[in-house]
């Protein structure tokens, strides 16, 4: 349909140039970079207008067009605040908004940004009022073509904002940095009051359920109230009969919220201490140990990212492929982990990452050899690994009673690990030879965690079990065990009051116990090798 009458209609209502283009449904960002010029071009090539005021303006513009680069005349007639966007899309309002931009404070290094807007809710009401009038005036007008305020905001304000903050504007899907301006109109709620008369049932319900709705007007409740609004009903309200009420006060930018999408560091940690929990160990709000793997790793990462100690707790998040007990070391290549950095300001250089690793390792309790940036998608691998991976452990065990297989001369003599014991353990199996598992266990939830976990019996598989004598320690032996994730190794060795069956003692018909346990290997490829970073 012809664009000219729509533009004229919108202008007569008091819309700005940008809003005229929005109601035309234009979606080309370039067009919005010079709204005024584009609107006037349409008017130029379309039907001449009857209104004297407009023709005067038109001739003024024609003159201007001769040197199009010249800045827009600030004293043009249409500098009254737009009744639809309430000035948000009008250059005259922007200097105040630019002043509110203080994003350099957080020191983001990224070159791009996406531009967000939280507009006063009454812009929804005003938009609806314009649409109702357009539909009434032009029967063929399609209300769905309206270009959203947020889009026009990006294409108009956003482009200028880019120059002010020295970053290039990009879409929210591409740029990791989102800068949102929160706008408030002082009379927002008063203006929305009319919805209570227009849609009484909705708001009566909401006020009755005050517990559920602490705020009467939300974006959603306003949208809901506007859905079935008719022009007749709206025109019955004071101030809305012949058009839209003028915008009496300035819309103010009350805050600017900038947030960078999280970044993730991936690595593997080696834990050398038997007095170090993986994460802070709290019992009834009291710390049980001074430190933790998490805190040791967080410390230099926070410093490099300029995160204040008080903010570490909510800015950094620790994730890992499982965990080990406080008194269990994690050796070999270490355990896969990742750290999520919320609202990061910069990407660390490979040198900085090396420094972080050095600082961690300096503690002598935890070693991290490499750290690299990983993607959010990679993290699923880490989580998946938690269930599917298998682990190899090394355990130091003690034989506490004579084996029923042994012929003992003196029952009071100290039990000794015999060659037979070693052979029996190394050949022990309760599965068929074709089974990839050598031993299948049934473990009840260990007594040591039963107070906080459900009582269940879990079936777990042992793939490898190799015992070795220790010539210098006749009562001791070592054990290398490769098991399915979730196997409780300590309980497999001592039996947990007979609640893990079979247990190691059954292989040699003697009482055995565990003295120390190390994780030797977590069989999971991490961080993924194909990572671009």
């Amino acid at each position: 349909m012809d664009q000219t009458p729509i533009i004229n209609f919108c202008k007569d209502l008091g819309c700005c140039y940008a809003c005229c283009l929005r109601y035309l449904g234009l979606k080309n960002p370039k067009v919005f970079e010079n709204c005024r010029k584009y609107v006037l071009e349409i008017l130029e090539n379309g039907q001449p207008k009857k209104n004297d005021r407009d023709s005067a303006e038109k001739s003024e513009i024609m003159k201007k067009d001769e040197n199009a680069e010249e800045p827009v005349n600030k004293k043009m007639k249409m500098n009254d605040t737009c009744v639809s966007c309430m000035g948000l899309l009008q250059e005259e309002s922007w200097p105040n908004y630019f002043q509110a931009l203080d994003v350099t404070r957080k020191g983001y290094e990224t070159d791009t940004f996406a531009c967000g807007l939280s507009a006063p809710m009454t812009t929804l009401l005003r938009e609806k009022a314009v649409i109702l009038r357009l539909c009434n005036q032009f029967t063929e007008y399609d209300a769905t073509i309206l270009t959203p305020l947020k889009e026009a905001w990006k294409w108009t304000f956003g482009v200028q904002m880019a120059k002010v903050i020295g970053k290039s504007l990009d879409s929210g899907a591409v740029s990791p940095l989102l800068i949102t301006l929160n706008m408030e109109y002082p009379d927002d709620l008063q203006e929305l009051e009319i919805l209570k008369t227009l849609s009484p049932s909705l708001f009566e319900l909401r006020s009755k359920q005050k517990k559920r709705f602490t705020v009467e007007f939300t974006r959603r409740s306003v949208e809901e109230a506007l859905t079935d609004l008719s022009l007749e009903a709206l025109q019955g309200v004071d101030g809305w009969k012949d058009g839209l009420p003028a915008v009496e006060k300035h819309v103010k930018c009350v805050s600017v919220v900038s947030v960078h999408t999280p970044m993730y560091l991936g690595g593997r940690y080696i834990k050398l201490s038997r007095e170090l929990p993986q994460t802070p160990w709290m019992v009834n709000g009291v710390r049980m140990m001074d430190s933790s793997v998490q805190e040791i790793i967080f410390d230099p990462i926070a410093r490099m990212n300029l995160i204040e100690p008080a903010d570490v707790e909510h800015r950094l998040k620790f994730m890992s492929a499982g965990r080990e007990d406080v008194d269990v070391r994690c050796l070999g290549q270490g355990r896969p982990f990742a750290v999520e950095i919320t609202d990061p300001r910069k990407q660390l250089s490979p040198e900085e990452l090396k420094t972080i690793c050095k600082e961690i390792s300096k503690t002598g309790k935890v070693i991290v050899k490499d750290l690299i940036y990983v993607t959010k998608v990679d993290l699923t691998e880490l989580k998946k690994g938690e269930e599917t991976k298998c682990k190899t452990y090394e355990a130091l065990c003690i034989k506490l009673s004579h084996s029923e297989y042994d012929h003992i001369v003196n029952p009071d003599s100290k039990p000794k690990v015999t060659e037979n014991d070693i052979e029996r353990i190394n050949s022990y199996s309760n599965t068929s030879p074709s089974d990839e598992a050598r031993i299948v266990l049934k473990q009840k939830t260990p007594v040591r965690v039963l107070h906080r976990r459900p009582l269940l019996t879990r079936q777990r598989r042992i793939y490898e079990l190799i015992a070795k004598e220790l010539p210098d320690h006749p009562q001791l032996f070592t054990l290398v065990i490769k098991t399915e994730a979730g196997t409780y190794i300590k309980e497999w060795v001592h039996g947990d009051l007979g609640r893990t069956r079979p247990h190691l003692g059954e292989a040699i018909k003697a009482k055995v116990d565990i003295l120390a346990l190390d994780v030797a290997s977590v069989h999971l490829q991490w961080p993924l090798v194909n990572n671009k970073n």
Binding site: R329, L396, K444, L450, T478, G498
Partner: protein, 181 residues
């Protein structure tokens, strides 16, 4: 850098058993006024409690064959089930609740009360087929039941009952009293 599990060999001469590492033992003597009807409750540091018989219980002096019966009136302790972290649905126990009866061929029997308030979490089912465990390993694989109480109840019970050294003292004085008779 190589780390070896042999870095971690503890002092074996002072090695504590599984039970002594994690549990502290409490005793109650002459339960229900029956002489040497002595019960032992072992409290894990996480407040899980194991019910068993104290070494001074007359059960350990009698050598006749016995069975352990977990049906108490119309309550079947073996059908106890618990759900979730909160152990919902577990049988509620008062100190007087009988957990099992030890029955001899000659028709005599005696009841083992729980001696504490709490939720029955688990019965040692192994005792049904292998009742000898109770005699052989009363403070480990021969435990009778696992009971979970609130922190408050668990702490109160712990302080009410006799600690290990008090128990030994009391036994000694009982023995010397016996000699005087």
């Amino acid at each position: 850098m190589a780390f070896n599990i042999l870095d971690s060999i503890p002092d074996i001469d002072n090695f504590k058993s599984y039970t002594d590492r994690y549990f502290s033992k409490r005793y109650i003597l002459d339960v229900d006024g029956v002489k040497n009807n002595d019960i032992m409750i072992m409290f894990h540091s996480n407040r899980i409690a194991l019910l068993s018989l104290a070494p001074s219980h007359y059960f350990f002096k009698k050598n006749d064959d016995y069975t352990i019966n977990f049906t108490i009136g119309n309550i079947d302790r073996l059908s106890n089930t618990v759900k979730g972290k909160g152990k919902k649905g577990g049988q509620y126990l008062t100190p007087k609740s009988v957990i099992c009866k030890i029955e001899y061929c000659d028709g005599t029997s005696y009841a083992v009360p729980s001696c504490m308030k709490g939720t029955l979490v688990e019965i040692n089912e192994e005792l049904v087929n292998n009742p000898a465990l109770l005699k052989k390993l009363p403070d480990s694989d021969g435990f009778i039941a696992i009971i979970l109480a609130s922190i408050a109840v668990s702490e109160a019970t712990k302080s009410e009952l006799l600690a290990h050294d008090e128990y030994l003292k009391k036994l000694n004085s009982q023995n010397s009293d016996g000699k005087k008779d």
